[in-house]
């Protein structure tokens, strides 16, 4: 039996290696993603292009604008006359936010009746949120410092400490500098392992069926289970190589720390990869041609991406969708990957997800091999 599996594995392996172009894409995918994420993606948006309509041009308005710019969140790209021009600039897309400061700002600040209008482009979610939050915090801080200045100028006997009675420390665990790559790498590993194993395996059988070569394999003494194992082993190898690439390049090249136990991670990743292979085989048995298989695995990857917690947090989703999420192995593996990689926690915290993943992988492989055999007969 082992010899027959080995023979199939060799055949698949040669086929994979001979198709240089595909192999090159497969193996460079993780690097490509890593580089893209490392250099191109910033979730926290800085340097938002800002137009300013400063109708006062006095000291108070200047210091307000300086505070906005010094935060690093906004960058003044042009100055215009009034609100209409600000909206025009945002309409045309050259600016993402606009600041309108009315005439006689200093005087109004003295009388404590000044108002500023900040306009934010609401067509781009990340920019909108960064701009909105940053503007609120900065303007509040600016106001507080004005209050303090005024009071001290009035010569009241209150010290600065008295005036700021409460200090709030916010501490972010695991990723204190909010580095984007630290957030993304564990999820990326999980996603890549799933999309690639599903895509590779789902095409494996359908293609043989379409090309007609499946008949030749069936007349040989090879049994379905052996065929299945033989076909999945090379894919398993590619998946694991890709995972190692991300971990190693991420850690060495981009300084993302791997905090937990690597052996535990490897073991659980292996179980996870098997569940992906199982899903791929299932798709392979259900679809009639490569196009269907491709559509199906795109559907699974996409749905998995959205409801597994890879990007969007699961606890904000409706209960029904949270439930559907449990059909995807990605849902179990995301907490494991983040837990071991970023948090550095051990099996005592993760045994629930690990057990669920193992049961899932076993179940899916069982069903996959049954369907697979049915389709072959």
């Amino acid at each position: 039996m082992l010899r027959r599996i080995w023979a199939i594995t060799q055949k698949e392996f040669i086929q994979t290696v001979r198709d240089r172009a595909t192999l090159a894409i497969l193996l460079s995918m993780p690097l490509l993603q890593l580089i893209l994420f490392a250099y191109a993606i910033h979730m926290d948006v800085k340097h938002i292009p800002l137009v300013v309509a400063d109708q006062s041009m006095d000291q108070a308005s200047q210091s307000y604008i300086t505070d906005m710019v010094q935060s690093g969140y906004f960058e003044v790209i042009s100055t215009v006359q009034g609100q209409a021009e600000v909206i025009h600039a945002i309409d045309s897309g050259s600016a993402r936010a606009g600041l309108v400061i009315p005439p006689d700002f200093s005087g109004q600040v003295e009388r404590a009746s000044a108002s500023v209008l900040l306009l934010v482009d609401g067509s781009d979610p990340f920019t909108t949120q960064s701009a909105y939050n940053a503007a609120n915090v900065i303007s509040q801080a600016h106001t507080i410092s004005l209050v303090l200045d005024n009071l001290q100028r009035d010569g009241s006997a209150i010290s600065a400490q008295d005036l700021n009675p409460l200090t709030t420390h916010i501490r972010i665990l695991y990723n204190p500098d909010l580095k984007d790559l630290w957030f993304l790498i564990p999820g990326m590993i999980a996603m890549l392992l799933q999309t690639q194993t599903i895509a590779l395996t789902s095409l494996a059988v359908v293609r043989e069926r379409e090309a007609g070569t499946i008949e030749q394999i069936l007349v040989s003494p090879i049994r379905p289970v052996e065929l299945m194992l033989g076909k999945t082993l090379p894919n398993l190898l590619i998946a694991m190589v890709n995972m190692l690439t991300i971990v190693v390049v991420g850690a060495m090249g981009f300084g993302v720390p791997f905090r937990g136990n690597f052996a535990l991670f490897l073991g659980l990743a292996l179980i996870y990869v098997f569940s992906g292979l199982g899903l791929g085989l299932l798709i392979s048995s259900v679809s009639q041609n490569p196009r269907q298989a491709q559509q199906l695995n795109m559907m699974i990857s996409l749905v998995g991406l959205i409801i597994s917690g890879f990007i969007f947090p699961r606890y904000t989703m409706p209960v029904v969708l949270q439930g559907i999420g449990y059909i995807f192995p990605l849902t179990y593996f995301i907490p494991i990957a983040r837990g071991i990689f970023t948090k550095g926690i051990g099996i005592e915290f993760l045994w629930g997800s690990a057990a669920a993943l193992t049961i899932f992988a076993g179940g899916i492989l069982f069903f996959a091999s049954r369907f697979f055999r049915q389709r072959l007969d």
């Binding site: 490509l32 893209l36 993606i41 940053a134 009035d154 957030f183 895509a199 749905v303 947090p313």
Partner: protein, 383 residues
């Protein structure tokens, strides 16, 4: 001319029949975008409210309670457990039980009187969305709580002349207005982008596969033996796809507007024409892939790489102005980059061609060039 037209219509009939006969594939092609729309509509929230939060209140006095109340009232934090100390909070975050923790030290009211109170907020830094919402919410809430305390104190001290202290009001009020999407509704952000994403993914993948498949099974030889010319073959294959994709676009937009209540601000007619140009460019891109790829597997892998680039670099999720130059240039090569701006411009902002002519022009040029190159290299591959 007449003959040419007859050949073309025969080809279109053949392709349409093939497309319609394969019911299951057709179903997938139509169902996938719908699933995508519904998922985004129901599952995705870009601002995270109700973070599960562990509370440690070692004071249990009026000030600590009102601070907790301020956090809860903001809707950003939901107190799910109350614990004894900081290390228990860290353990709860380790276990994934909560995403945030608040630690209020003993003797809180008195420390506020003395002016040296401290509060600690802990956030789970392994989940980016939660952390970012939580961070900005926590700092805003803490700041305004502290400001309120200051004002109270100043008023109580009866600080002499200061007009602001007497009134207890602030010198500057900043009002923030979000244009186009004032309630920050997530689907209003997402719909224009997913329409573009769906169109491009479908068009590229289908166009790439449809030609490679004929080559792989060998039927391309039979077609070439007929008097059909390459350009006719391409058009014949692309037109049924164009119709289907246009139909899907219509369904998605219809559902978005009538079912999910997304406001369509601009001109539908303009949108239709620009979408048509965009579908043309994406089909052309798919054809280009099909001239490069030798097997269906290769075609699939290449379209997946393209999808990845589109997702990350076109401005669909991550803002382009935050990217370095090289990724921006790569993004410029994708038709989606131009269409996202058009789609957001027309649907969300309600602007017209006066603001969009540059993107529209580039897209039209793109469509022509890519179709030209594709049909030229197609001819070469066939000879």
């Amino acid at each position: 001319m007449h003959k040419r037209y007859r050949r073309l219509s025969a080809l279109i009939r053949k392709e349409t029949t093939q497309l319609l006969r394969d019911r299951r594939t057709l179903m997938f092609i139509i169902a996938l975008p719908l699933i995508e729309l519904f998922l985004f509509a129901y599952a995705v929230s870009l601002t995270v409210y109700h973070l599960p939060t562990a509370i440690v209140d070692q004071s249990h006095d009026s000030q600590s309670r009102s601070f907790i109340q301020a956090l809860v009232n903001s809707q950003y934090f939901d107190p799910t457990v109350s614990l004894q100390n900081e290390s228990q909070v860290i353990q709860a975050i380790d276990a994934g039980q909560v995403k945030a923790g608040l630690v209020i030290p003993p003797d809180f009211s008195a420390s506020i009187e003395r002016g040296n109170a401290n509060v600690l907020i802990l956030l789970d830094g392994s989940d980016s969305f939660s952390v970012q919402s939580g961070y900005s919410a926590a700092s805003t809430i803490a700041q305004s709580f502290s400001l309120a305390l200051t004002t109270q104190k100043v008023v109580r001290m009866g600080s002499a002349s200061s007009s602001l202290a007497a009134a207890g009001s602030l010198p500057i009020v900043t009002s923030t207005r979000v244009l186009y999407n004032p309630d920050l509704k997530d689907l209003w952000f997402i719909l224009p982008a997913i329409v573009g994403m769906i169109i491009q993914t479908l068009a590229v993948a289908q166009a790439a596969l449809i030609v490679v498949k004929e080559r792989e099974i060998g039927t391309i030889e039979q077609i070439l033996a007929t008097p059909v010319r390459p350009i006719e073959l391409i058009l014949g294959k692309m037109i049924p796809l164009l119709v289907i994709i246009l139909l899907i676009t219509g369904i998605i937009l219809g559902l978005g507007v009538f079912w999910f209540g997304v406001a369509f601000q601009g001109s539908l007619w303009l949108y239709f024409w620009l979408a048509l140009v965009f579908i043309g460019s994406s089909l052309g891109l798919g054809l280009l892939i099909s001239t490069v790829a030798r097997t269906q597997k290769q075609a699939q892998q290449i379209s997946m790489v393209l999808m990845l680039f589109s997702m990350l670099l076109s401005g669909i999720v991550y803002p382009r102005n935050a990217m370095p130059l090289i990724p921006q240039w790569i993004g410029d090569l994708l038709p989606l980059t131009y269409f996202i701006r058009i789609s957001r411009g027309i649907i969300t902002k309600g602007v017209d061609l006066a603001f969009l002519w540059q993107d529209a022009l580039v897209l039209a040029g793109y469509c022509l060039v890519v179709l030209l190159v594709a049909s030229l290299s197609f001819k070469k591959r066939l000879d």
